[in-house]
């Protein structure tokens, strides 16, 4: 099926035909997705076609814009493919955003149609849920750019960045996957634990799997037992794709069964501690692969055999260099919509804001950590500057410093009669749960430097908090 990637010529990918050619083609009876029920290609095509009719009835046209605020589900997959098949631009909004955050995003991105859950069954522990969706016209505007996909990234200054990817760019990333040694082969399976709403699960599992004929299987629940049940459910080789949290689940299994089908586990999102990686490999005797990517690009570099840890090999066709301690990726165009910032993209180079090294002789890349205030919570990117800005704008809060100290931690001074409880209550409306401070310390006075700046040193702030409780 990979020969269809020749369709990545610019003239062809502007047409919605790429969805059929690259993703949906294949034998009617080939099972391509497995959650509670197996879904074959004929059924998937029918479901996409049905969704297409509903979206068209809501007014969506080629060149229009569609926002999906759906958790990973058949509703999400089929509406995404239906939107693209219409030739619309699809905006993905994380389903965990609060109504306040969604409202801000909708006003900024102005879609013409919004798809959101009306009823969700199976929740907390499910990686893939059953959703009845509502399809609603929204007073937005047609797509302003040729991008097929729009995502929001946690911004390091002010509001989130809008990231656009064209169909050609998505097809190019699928093409990269087909050329990386160690990804699941046609006829094999991917057990997907990473969210399909974000780039690793979206392209690395859903789009690559549909393209290559790799069956995509979701475990019933995100527990160690369920993940291994999903591996054991069929005799074909299975690769588990997740984030480091999922390695921890499997590494802590008391007495895992021997599963010859388990071929590899691959994670992205953040560096895996050596002890966790060692515990997993000791227990399962299969390679633990590592991937590095970003929303703007998709997969950038991999080490799927765990043989270079922590270093990675750049994905085929991507150029990665180090400049002044920062890793840059060769990209002909800026991925940012409506943003001209030479510190993020200039002269064909995308700034990753990841510190790292790129070995000129071997080509191996090592990511050392962030150069800005972005952190990863279970693979989800959170920018502490965004969190601090939201905390600071609450009327109850006089001053605030937000930093990462094992968990997102806020130090604040308050305006009477506010309390920690009133601030926490206000934040539940403003910030998705994964972005909220886990610890909120109310101080009488914020520590300041001799020049009057707020202190950001964790040890000083911890001491100030201890003095309050003493």
């Amino acid at each position: 099926m990979t020969q269809n990637l020749s369709a990545s010529e610019p003239g062809l990918v502007a047409s919605p035909d790429w969805v059929d050619e690259i993703l949906l083609s294949g034998a009617d009876t080939e099972v391509c997705l497995c959650s509670d029920q197996p879904v074959d290609r004929r059924t998937l095509r029918q479901l996409v076609s049905q969704r297409q009719s509903v979206l068209a009835a809501a007014g969506l046209r080629a060149g229009g814009s569609l926002a999906l605020r759906l958790p990973p589900s058949m509703a999400y997959i089929t509406n995404l493919l239906a939107g693209w098949r219409i030739g619309a631009q699809v905006i993905l909004l994380d389903h965990r955003l609060t109504p306040f955050e969604v409202d801000a995003a909708l006003h900024r991105l102005a879609p013409q149609v919004l798809v959101a859950p009306e009823r969700t069954r199976g929740g907390t522990l499910r990686a893939f849920v059953d959703v009845d969706e509502s399809v609603t016209p929204w007073p937005g505007r047609p797509a302003m750019t040729p991008h097929a996909l729009i995502q929001l990234s946690s911004g390091s200054t002010g509001p989130s960045k809008v990231i656009g990817r064209t169909a050609a760019d998505l097809i190019a990333e699928i093409g990269r996957y087909t050329r990386i040694d160690g990804v699941p082969a046609p006829g094999e399976r991917i057990i997907v634990l990473a969210s399909m709403v974000h780039v690793l699960g979206l392209v690395g599992a859903l789009l690559y799997g549909l393209h290559a004929g790799v069956r995509i299987r979701m475990p019933e629940r995100i527990t160690g037992d369920s993940i291994l049940d999903a591996v054991a459910a069929e005799p074909t080789p299975a690769t588990v794709l997740g984030v480091p949290f999922h390695i921890g689940l499997l590494a802590s299994m008391a007495d895992p069964p021997v599963l010859p089908q388990l071929k590899r586990m691959t994670t992205g999102g953040e560096l895996v501690p050596a002890a966790t990686a060692g515990a997993f490999v000791d227990r399962y005797r299969v390679p633990l692969g590592n991937m590095w990517g970003m929303t703007e690009v998709g997969v950038i570099a991999t080490d799927l055999f765990g043989e270079h840890r922590p270093a990675l090999v750049p994905a085929p066709g991507l150029e990665v260099v180090e400049r002044d301690g920062e890793l840059l990726i060769g990209r002909p165009e800026s991925p940012y919509v409506g943003l001209s910032d030479p510190t993020r993209w200039a002269d064909g180079w995308l700034h990753t804001r990841d510190a790292g090294t790129a070995d000129r002789d071997t080509g191996l890349v090592t990511v050392l950590g962030r150069l800005d205030s972005q952190i990863s919570v279970g693979g989800l990117k959170v920018d502490l500057t965004e969190v601090e800005a939201i905390v600071r704008t609450l009327p109850d809060v006089a001053e605030a410093v937000v930093l990462y100290d094992d968990a997102i931690t806020a130090y604040v001074t308050l305006t009477p009669p506010a309390t920690a409880a009133t601030v926490e209550a206000a934040l539940t409306h403003r910030l998705a749960a994964y972005k909220r401070p886990r610890r909120l310390h109310v101080l009488e006075q914020m520590p300041r430097t001799t020049t009057g700046k707020l202190v950001r040193d964790t040890s000083v702030l911890r001491r100030a908090a201890r003095e309050v409780t003493a």
Partner: protein
């Protein structure tokens, strides 16, 4: 047959997430910690924790986790 679980055990299981000290475990529990905790309880007690979503969604603190899991594990089986 039934089992029971105490607050110290719950905190110890949460502390094993990210190799934290018990006193570094915040009282609030996020969704990832809840998934970790339920996985640990299933491993330790050899039982599937089949709580409905309403009850799982009601767990946002260590105290709530202790209450819900104590009831679940203490029920007659």
């Amino acid at each position: 047959m039934s089992a029971t679980v105490g607050r110290d055990e719950i905190v110890a299981m949460l502390a094993s997430f990210g190799s934290r000290q018990a006193d570094a475990v915040p009282e609030t529990i996020d969704s990832m910690e809840l998934a970790w905790l339920l996985h640990q309880v299933e491993q330790r007690y050899g039982t599937r924790v089949d709580l409905d979503d309403g009850r799982l969604a009601g767990i946002s603190t260590v105290s709530e986790a202790v209450d819900v899991l104590r009831n679940w594990l203490g029920r007659p089986r």
